[in-house]
């Protein structure tokens, strides 16, 4: 009997999709597998590849089995193909086919649309591993190093998930696209990754935390909308990926939070009350709050660009086709067709920022972005509670959506973080107060000294409140191989 909950290890590729009885796809994946292993091996520095990392691996996709913790060497991590259990009689949740049975095969008319969505999603997964490849060398603790590697192996698995869909449902085209996912590379001149934000290097750990908080959260929102897809295999894949994605959100939120916490503690210990006394604070080996705000401004605005144009016919088509839903589609109480509804979007009229109503169907991107902003604002509020508890007068803020944008209606115009338009000269005069400068980057870089003693943390970050898998504070999350 086909076991669809437990992960089967009877092929080289762990899976819960009955791969051993699907010879065509098995062969295609086995052909793709060595390229993947090469990609991974070339990527992460070798002494980390040989180290034992305390990772979680899924042994089944039900709640009990999906988080088994043990020491693993990363190249031996069981990357596999895991789909959330099939929901009986699932229906297409939105668009013109709403209410019809979900597709188990690719509907011909939407083949290209679907393939493109899967390729774009798939392209971001290995890209982030590429961006973060050298961070292990400056990890502020073994705990953080373990979290980095957990994020990395799971992004690797998410690539597998997308490649499986391409190989299984898109024939020769799919195989070529799967190969291209390994051919493109973050920051490459000839073959860059598809989305801009995924070609920027992640130079330091604060950037990594900001990236996992803001940019991975875009990934989460995209997965949420694909989890609503009428194409059932895509929906099931994304639903399982979301469980893993939650860990990445956790790494980002607590990473930034612990950085803020440490800064506040050190300020208080030295009687510094003015958060803008930047040099004095930096001399104590912690990152001043205004610089953290600048990093936040940068990563939030880069991530907003990932949502595309505010008004988009592509997005409308994908929704109408039932290929991509809204965030929590099944919990929204409407007709799920949006034929006569409107939605409020930002626009520019005569250089002024205005809000106007447009057909809701065309504003799908904007709506997802609004959901994203709401989700992202929650963690910022919790960071502010840390600052407030420490008795320091400072508040982190999400900048206005018009600030520092490259895509959408605000691209090519200058705004301050409160959303006021200003001239290019005024913008240039102030931009160093709003976005990190090279000097800020150099300072942060100067703090990036590795700490490899169990239970010890770098000067600029606090220990976590709770260990991974409830482990004690001095647990050796990575047994380093020092050759």
């Amino acid at each position: 009997m086909l076991d669809l909950i437990n992960v089967s290890y009877d092929t080289q590729i762990p899976n819960n999709v009955g791969l051993s009885s699907d010879k065509r796809v098995l062969k295609a994946l086995e052909k793709w597998h060595p390229g993947y292993i090469n990609w991974w091996s070339d990527l992460i520095p070798d002494n980390f590849q040989q180290s034992l990392v305390y990772l979680r691996t899924a042994v089944s996709v039900d709640p009990k089995g999906w988080a088994k913790f043990d020491y693993v060497k990363m190249p031996e991590y069981r990357w596999g193909i895991l789909l959330a259990p099939q929901v009986e009689d699932r229906r297409i949740p939105c668009g013109e086919h709403a209410g019809q049975p979900a597709w188990q095969e690719v509907p011909g008319e939407y083949r290209n649309l679907l393939k493109r969505l899967i390729v774009i999603q798939g392209d971001t997964e290995p890209a982030s591993v590429e961006q973060q490849r050298f961070l292990g060398l400056t990890a502020p603790s073994l705990y953080d190093m373990r979290n980095l590697f957990q994020v990395n192996v799971e992004e690797g698995r998410h690539l597998w998930a997308m490649v499986y869909l391409l190989q299984k449902y898109f024939g020769k085209d799919g195989r070529e696209e799967a190969d291209d996912l390994l051919r493109r590379s973050s920051g490459s001149e000839e073959a860059p990754r598809m989305l801009g934000a995924f070609n920027e290097e992640t130079p330091d750990w604060l950037s990594f935390f900001m990236f996992t908080y803001f940019t991975d959260r875009d990934g989460k929102m995209q997965l949420e909308s694909l989890a609503q897809s009428g194409f059932d295999p895509l929906s099931r894949t994304c639903r399982f990926m979301l469980t893993e994605e939650a860990h990445h959100m956790f790494v980002g939120e607590t990473g930034v939070g612990r950085t803020i916490q440490r800064t506040c503690e050190v300020m208080n210990a030295h009687g510094i009350t003015d958060p803008y006394d930047i040099n004095k604070i930096r001399d104590l080996g912690v990152i001043d709050l205004p610089t953290i705000q600048k990093k936040l401004n940068l990563h939030y605005t880069l991530s907003l660009d990932l949502f595309g144009q505010e008004v988009s016919t592509n997005a409308a088509n994908a929704f109408n086709a039932g290929i991509k839903g809204r965030y929590m589609e099944s919990r929204i109480d409407d007709d799920h067709k949006l034929t006569n509804d409107t939605y409020t979007v930002w626009d520019l009229e005569d250089g002024k920022v205005v809000q106007k109503q447009v057909p809701a169907l065309t504003a799908i991107n904007m709506r997802l972005r609004d959901d994203y902003t709401r989700d992202a604002a929650g963690g910022v509020g919790r960071w502010n509670k840390i600052i407030e508890k420490a008795g320091i007068e400072f508040e982190m803020k999400l900048p206005h959506e018009s600030f520092h944008r490259q895509i959408g209606v605000f691209a090519g115009h200058n705004f301050d973080p409160d959303g006021n338009p200003l001239s290019g000269a005024d913008y240039d005069a102030k931009v160093n107060d709003w976005l990190p400068t090279h000097a800020d980057g150099d300072f942060i870089q100067s703090l990036m000294k590795p700490v490899y003693e169990p239970g010890q943390y770098a000067s600029w970050i606090s220990p976590p409140k709770v260990g991974i898998d409830n482990k004690p504070g001095d647990f050796e999350y990575v047994k380093l191989h020092m050759a």
């Binding site: 709640p63 999906w66 939650a246």
Partner: protein, 395 residues
Amino acid sequence: MNKPIKQHLIDPEICIRCYTCEMTCPIEAIVHDDNNVVVDADKCDYCMACIPVCPTGSIDEWRVVADPYSVEEQFGWEELPEQQDITQSEAAGGMEALDDAMAALLAEAHAGAGGKAVAPASASKPTVNMYNLSHPVEATVQGNYRLTGDGADTDVRHVILSFQDKFPVLEGQSIGILPPGQDDKGNPYLPRLYSVSSPRDGERPNFGNVSLTVKREQHGICSNYVCDLKPGDKVRVTGPFGATFLMPDDPQARLLMVCTGTGSAPMRAFTMRRQRSVGNKSGGMTMFFGARSPDTLPYFGPLKKVPEALLKTHMVFSRLPDQPKEYVQDRILAEEDAVAEMLGDPNTYIYICGLRGMEEGVEKAFTNIAESIGVQWVALRDAMREEGRYHVETY
């Protein structure tokens, strides 16, 4: 006054509001507003599905309450409330422990059963939380004996404690030991739980003393403390804890026990209880006991002397020279027919105790055997658990 219940809570200071628990909960007992993600005490049935999916460690929080905190109340929290004092008289049957830390430990240890644990119908009523963190009881060490061979690389100890007044503990229950000293934050160490290995009337009949089976862990604060105890030393004890991992009093009940290492403690207690009460005129017991080698298997000598009519023992070794590695699940599969017969008998009670890592292999073996008799294991397991016939305690 309502009966107190153990309420599941989420720590708002650690939770990142990813809602993974909410998506995972099969009965929509978890809800959120703009501020917090909370568990509705009226709905939660302790299935524990939300525990492993949480990326943060915020979800494994428990409070014993007379009146559960409402959803609205929890939405307003910025931090978790302290555990309120609930007096002993309010302790109701079925409570594992009134001490939140102990209850959480037990909930985790029992999670492998796949749902809310239930005591056997005929089990004696346990006493829980007679002594707690703020009022521990003092015990005196009577003896401390090494159970593993002189050359063995593991040090497992049989430690006997005596109490001034009666300490009412049933086979399968645990007690807490408070190691002296403080952690690096200056807080006193929390108690560690150990399952008793003696029967209810005492290690020595009618003396009411209690034995523990403790393995020395390399950096274990409490295990080293216990393993180094000398006769006459005084120890602070809390408990007893646990109200489900208990043996049926029905003499005809058949016990199927699977354990490794110090997981043998409750099995020893069960065996001695049977020996002293109904002896060979019982439904019988079968035990699969795994260790690396005979010299690391606790109670190896005495076990060999227990008559088979009382207890049939399969000792399984994974590190014998010149022998392939054998684990408990391998032997269970090798004994497929006998195990299948027991699985099919509504009078069979299963107990699994040992390291967490054993669960998976044992479940797999049961799955295979159940399948061979045309039964779906998960359904059988869930039914047995609800009838108080399936018990897991792993750590």
